[in-house]
């Protein structure tokens, strides 16, 4: 096991800079997820850690050793590829043994390690099969097994679950988490799926356009996003945003929406926002903080027309119009109104965010 440290890592392809001076420290045994939309540079960053791409600038340290000039095969990291990259001409056992054979690990130990990992991953019955005889989920497990038998310093996962169907993805996600709790090897995991990021990570690194937007534990990112990008990317359905104007009303502040609706800001937030009074800003609120009418001291009620009703069973998603903007609310299924009706909804102002329109930063 080892820690991983990226210092001012950048990567350009020809004239296109895809990764901009990234700094990231990953502690020994930590599970870090790089998440972001496609083209955000997360896979390129992972490939640089793996040694498959060379950084254009900066330093990569694994276990305290500078590895910029160290070949992939000498880094002692194990990568799991999105396409699994299993060798079609080899059996499951041969695939898993491949790295060990090249390292000239004695036969007895190879057999023993494969047996142990196959047992953990439930592959024992499949060892003599060829990859084309396996299902997607089984191939994925073989790819993980091939990495695990090596007992590497660091595991790298490049979107390992994106080729699986939703149900299997959920199952494998839990498997990966369980495995990490068991072996606790330093892991860097790349995905575009924020649910995977939230559920798996000790710390999530949100990337956008080759830069790190925010680093933090999943719940911090969810509740205290640093920017509009993170606020919109993490959580599903995404956060609602409204154009607004922050106005001083006596010694209190109020968020005034486009149609003149004034939402009183909690007194506890006055100090934080008071400097921005009079500015045009953006008001952000997650769907679960727009609910059916509830008697709570921190909530403000509004009356809005219902556009679409989506019953999900445990909750109902409501698409409503607030000040001309379409907004998603999550309400109690018992309180479901009908499309076209007016509904009274409560806004949980304790969870509000105010964002700078230009920089997109959360204030």
């Amino acid at each position: 096991m080892a820690d991983v440290e990226l210092r001012k890592i950048s990567k350009s392809f020809q004239n296109l800079k895809v990764v901009h001076d990234i700094d990231l420290e990953i502690a020994e045994g930590e599970f870090v997820v790089l998440v972001g939309p496609s083209g955000c540079g997360k896979s390129t960053t992972l490939r640089m850690v793996a040694g498959l791409d060379r950084p254009s600038g900066g330093e990569i340290h694994i276990g305290g050793r500078l590895v910029n000039d160290v070949q992939a095969r000498d880094r002692d990291i194990a990568m799991v590829f999105q396409s699994y990259a299993l060798y079609p001409q080899m059996t499951v056992a041969q695939n898993m043994a491949f790295g060990l054979r090249i390292r000239k690990v004695p036969d007895a130990e190879v057999t023993q390690r494969i047996a142990r990992v196959a047992d953990i991953l439930d592959l024992s019955e499949l060892l003599q099969r060829k990859p084309h005889q396996l299902s997607g989920g089984q191939r994925q497990r073989v790819a993980m097994g091939r990495a695990m038998v090596r007992q590497p310093k660091v595991f790298l996962f490049d979107e390992p679950l994106s080729n699986l169907d939703a149900k299997l993805r959920g199952k494998m996600r839990a498997e990966i988490k369980k495995l990490h709790q068991m072996v606790a090897t330093t892991t860097v995991y790349v995905t575009h799926d924020q649910v995977e990021a939230m559920t798996l990570a000790d710390r999530v690194v949100v990337m956008n356009k080759g830069r790190i937007e925010q680093i933090g534990p999943p719940n911090d990112l969810y509740h205290e996003p640093a920017s509009r990008f993170v606020a919109g990317f993490i959580g599903s359905p995404g956060m609602n945003f409204f154009k607004c104007r922050l106005e001083a009303r006596g010694d209190r502040l109020a968020v005034v929406l486009g149609d003149g609706t004034a939402l009183a800001v909690l007194a506890s937030r006055t100090a934080r926002y008071t400097g921005h009074a009079g500015r045009e800003l953006e008001f952000g609120l997650r769907p679960e903080h727009i609910t059916e009418q509830r008697e709570r001291p921190d909530s403000v009620d509004i009356k809005v027309p219902v556009e679409v009703v989506e019953p999900m069973g445990m909750e109902t998603l409501l698409h409503v119009l607030v000040a001309g903007a379409e907004v998603t609310a999550r309400i109690d299924p018992a309180a479901t109104p009908k499309p076209g009706e007016m509904a009274t909804l409560s806004l949980g102002m304790a969870h509000m965010h105010l964002l700078d329109l230009e920089s997109g930063k959360v204030l």
Binding site: A72, R73, A78, A85, F98, I102, R103
Partner: protein
């Protein structure tokens, strides 16, 4: 689709194959068991003479005398075809690999370059080698000019020049099928191998070669079969001194006027090539399993 329509769609192809391949093949086999007509063509009666001619010559008193000269020509042809195949493989695999590693744009250009010789008549291309290799040719001229030699090297009219001509003619048939198999390899397979401690040699031996093998086998048959029956390169570059099967067959139907022997030789070539095909497809099936 009904069976009638299926048949209608297959019929033209079957007809072409039947008239232009199966029938001539059948005729060749049939002719090989006939007696030669001294004015060309064949006459009755049916005999095995043509096949006996491979190993024996009929003496004046009608007794058979062992004579290995034809058998040697056949063996030498097979040997040269095998050598051609091996050289084409050794040259073709790196070329195919190099092309696969290029950007899509450059791949198109390079593939076009590989097929470029097909646009020029084989006879002309082969004849060019005479101009290059002969005593007063480009190669000897250049060497003499550079002061490396004073007397011209005997570059033409030997097994080496025949081999050169064969390799030159058939190399694209090796490059193209290998390229098409290599092109389908997921580049992640190579990256994964590097990740799994493999160096370049190990990647080639354990990953690239096993995956390229079906293409190499296809290429080997595509080179071996025509190389075995080829007569242009042996005739022009071998100077007609060193006979190969192809030239021998051609002679039987022209100057020698011994159609049954020519037909028997053709049959032997066909049998050898078919044997290679059968072995190959068996092997390909094993690879699939």
């Amino acid at each position: 689709m009904g069976p009638t329509r299926t048949w209608l769609l297959i019929a033209p192809a079957m007809l072409v194959i039947g008239i232009f391949m199966v029938l001539p093949l059948f005729l060749a086999v049939a002719y090989s068991f006939m007696t030669a007509n001294p004015y060309g063509g064949v006459t009755a009666p049916a005999t095995f003479d043509a096949y006996l001619q491979f190993l024996y010559q009929r003496d004046f008193d009608d007794s058979l005398v062992f004579s290995p000269s034809y058998a040697l020509i056949i063996l030498r042809s097979i040997y040269l075809a095998i050598a051609t195949t091996i050289i084409c493989l050794v040259l073709g695999l790196p070329v195919a690999w190099y092309i696969v590693c290029q950007t899509p744009e450059r791949r198109r250009i390079l593939l076009f370059a590989v097929t470029l010789p097909f646009w020029i008549n084989t006879l002309i291309r082969t004849y060019c080698w005479i101009l290059i290799l002969r005593d007063e040719g480009l190669a000897n001229g250049a060497l003499r000019h550079a002061g490396i030699i004073s007397d011209p090297l005997p570059l033409l009219y030997n097994d080496g020049s025949i081999l050169l001509g064969l390799v030159y003619t058939f190399l694209p048939f090796m490059v193209l099928p290998i390229y098409s198999t290599l092109e389908r390899i997921d580049p992640r397979l190579i990256e994964a191998a590097h990740d799994l401690y493999a160096g370049r040699a190990a990647v080639f031996r354990r990953i690239v070669w096993p995956l390229a093998r079906p293409g190499a086998l296809a290429g080997a048959t595509l080179v071996f079969a025509p190389a075995l029956g080829s007569f242009l390169a042996p005739d022009l570059l071998g100077g007609g001194k060193k006979l190969l099967i192809g030239s021998l067959i051609q002679m039987q139907f022209t100057s020698s006027r011994n159609w049954p022997f020519g037909a028997a030789l053709s049959t032997v070539v066909t049998v050898v090539v078919l044997t290679v095909f059968v072995i190959r497809s068996r092997k390909a099936q094993e690879d699939l399993r």
